[in-house]
């Protein structure tokens, strides 16, 4: 089971579901136009029901769905005062590290692409534009409209979210949650997109540019890969990296701080002069917004785990040892 899934299962608690009224599915062009059924007002203290029924199925069965949908009514806005940043994204209790790492990568390299993808309809809904490639590689656009009611675990969104301190206050930006919800609606449900995927597809969906994946293995220092990543970093191309099997001994040591079957954002590459040598580094980000599980951080005395936002730097050889592939968008 992937590391992110372990996290999800650990926190799974069956919670009785509120009965959900029948509602029309949005964006069904063939459906006849009918008066919208009235949604019963929620009882005081109860969460509002979901407006987009096509994305309700977020676990194996609805009966086990531990989450309830709530409106974000704490003054959250789509974009924060500090703009779109890679560090805005935090993966939730769903197996979509590929999506979270890709959103973070695009946010870090091409924040305009994220801002242009989301249109605020000013009526509580948001229209998100995605791209996909057809059999011939041609780009086509597809849009989904969703509201900001999100599956919650306690007081926090259960899936992708952004939580950061701005001016000393906890501030929540909605854009990662909105993007993820629209993507889930596009693919059919949270469940449909929550069982692994290709980070390159999400980057393509946001930028319209094709993604290419390359292996990290190679002869010697693998200068060809370094050159490719350095060029992508310099040109602000979004990048992600993927790890191998979770049973692999490479990921058993908490000192490694990298987990198997997981996707990471590549924030960039750096070269630093150390003596008469030039050392190569890759800056990575775990979409959990922390590098290690808390237990692993405690075991290795990692005191920055909760403050570094999941960002860490690896030497080139160590990066190639721990990661099996790199995906570059554009």
């Amino acid at each position: 089971m992937p590391a992110h899934d372990t996290k999800k299962k650990k926190n799974q608690k069956p919670i009785p579901q509120q009965p959900k009224p029948q509602q029309p599915k949005p964006q069904q062009p063939q459906a006849p136009v009918q008066p919208k059924p009235q949604t019963p007002a929620p009882a005081p203290g109860q969460p509002r029901d979901l407006v987009d029924p096509s994305v309700t199925r977020d676990e194996k069965t609805k009966a086990l769905d531990p989450y309830t949908y709530k409106k974000n009514d704490r003054g959250a806005k789509v974009f924060g005062p500090d703009g779109v940043k890679a560090g805005d994204v935090q993966q939730g209790y769903i197996g979509d590290c590929y999506m979270a790492s890709a959103m973070s990568a695009v946010a870090g390299s091409k924040p305009d692409a994220v801002q242009q993808a989301i249109k605020d309809n000013k009526d509580g809904t948001f229209t998100v534009r995605f791209f996909e490639l057809d059999y011939s590689g041609r780009k086509t656009a597809h849009s989904e409209t969703v509201d900001a009611d999100l599956p919650h675990y306690g007081d926090m969104p259960a899936y992708a979210k952004s939580t950061e301190k701005v001016d000393g206050k906890q501030y929540m930006e909605l854009w990662p949650s909105i993007l993820e919800k629209a993507y889930a609606q596009w693919k059919g449900s949270y469940d449909a997109m929550g069982n692994g995927g290709i980070a390159g597809d999400v980057m393509t969906a946001l930028t319209g540019e094709r993604s290419s994946q390359v292996t990290t293995a190679g002869a010697g220092e693998n200068d060809a890969l370094w050159t490719k990543m350095k060029a992508a970093s310099d040109q602000k191309k979004p990048m992600t990296a993927g790890t191998g099997g979770e049973e692999d001994p490479r990921y058993k040591d908490p000192k490694a701080g990298v987990y198997g079957w997981h996707a990471y954002t590549v924030m960039g590459v750096e070269e630093a002069k150390e003596g008469d040598k030039t050392k190569r580094y890759v800056v990575c980000r775990n979409p959990w917004a922390k590098r290690r599980r808390n237990s692993d951080a405690a075991a290795v005395g990692d005191t920055t785990n909760d403050t570094a936002g999941g960002v860490f730097k690896l030497e080139w050889a160590e990066f190639r040892r721990l990661y099996d592939n790199v995906t570059v968008n554009g």
Partner: protein, 320 residues
Amino acid sequence: MPNGTRPRIQVKTLKLPRVIAILAYCAASQFLSFVAGHAVQATEKATMHTASGHDTTSAANAKPICEVQVEAGGDHLAHALLEAAPGSHLCLQPGVHSASLSISKSLTLRGIAAGVILQGSGRDSVLRVDDDGVALRLENLVLQGGSAQAGGGLAIFGRGKVHASDCTFCDNTGGMVGGGAVYARAGMLVLERCIFTRNHGRQGGALMLDMAMHAELQRCEFSNNTADIAGALRISEAAEVDLKACKLAGNLGADGSQVRASGTRSRVPTVRLDHCEVDSGRLINGPEIQGHITAKGCKLPASWKGSATDGGGNTWRPAI
């Protein structure tokens, strides 16, 4: 040759009993496939073409073309791939060839007898095709021991054409995305008389066919593959797949399905089953967004009846 331009080679040191066990199991599977395949080939002679369109056998008794002979062991195959001219036919000797290789030019890799094994390193797919325009033909090979996020045996990301015949895919893993044996997402994939066994994928224990691609599977057999979702085949997005005279038996998905197809709100997959046999397990179509699935002349579990369009001539039977 500068560093980094050579295909990767990961020579995995295996203990002798493990090697013998792998060779025995997979080579036996391949031998049976090889014999069965050549019986079929006798009636189909001169119809085989390379992916690039050239005849590989011009007459019934003609010797196959082999520009390059590749001995087993070491990194002979990696070197041969580097040096081969595009369009070459590489004939591989029986034995274990270290693989985990990227194929970036059009080639034919041919096992000259049973027991030609491409052994994955456990850190990548046995073979990968990343570039567009590559026409790859695989004949009479065993691809085993690969482990990748998608497509432990064969990962096809580029838009080209891959044609595999009389090949066995066993003990491969596609653990994060799926397609234990094969993950394909672009171009054309043809699989003839191939055997898929004991592969594991997150989605699609044997195959995951994704995005916008076409696949044609003829006389392929799937057995004892496992997955979280769809023990044998996972088909998604706009993939278009024809299965002809294929057999699926004992492929176990944790969701109870052997085959699962689902689309998105912008496109859906198409699956056509023609004279196929399935022993048990569910066909999950969707559940949220269904694909177009039709079956004709097939022997299928009764539970499949509601999930696929009946094209006629099907036998619906209780699950074994």
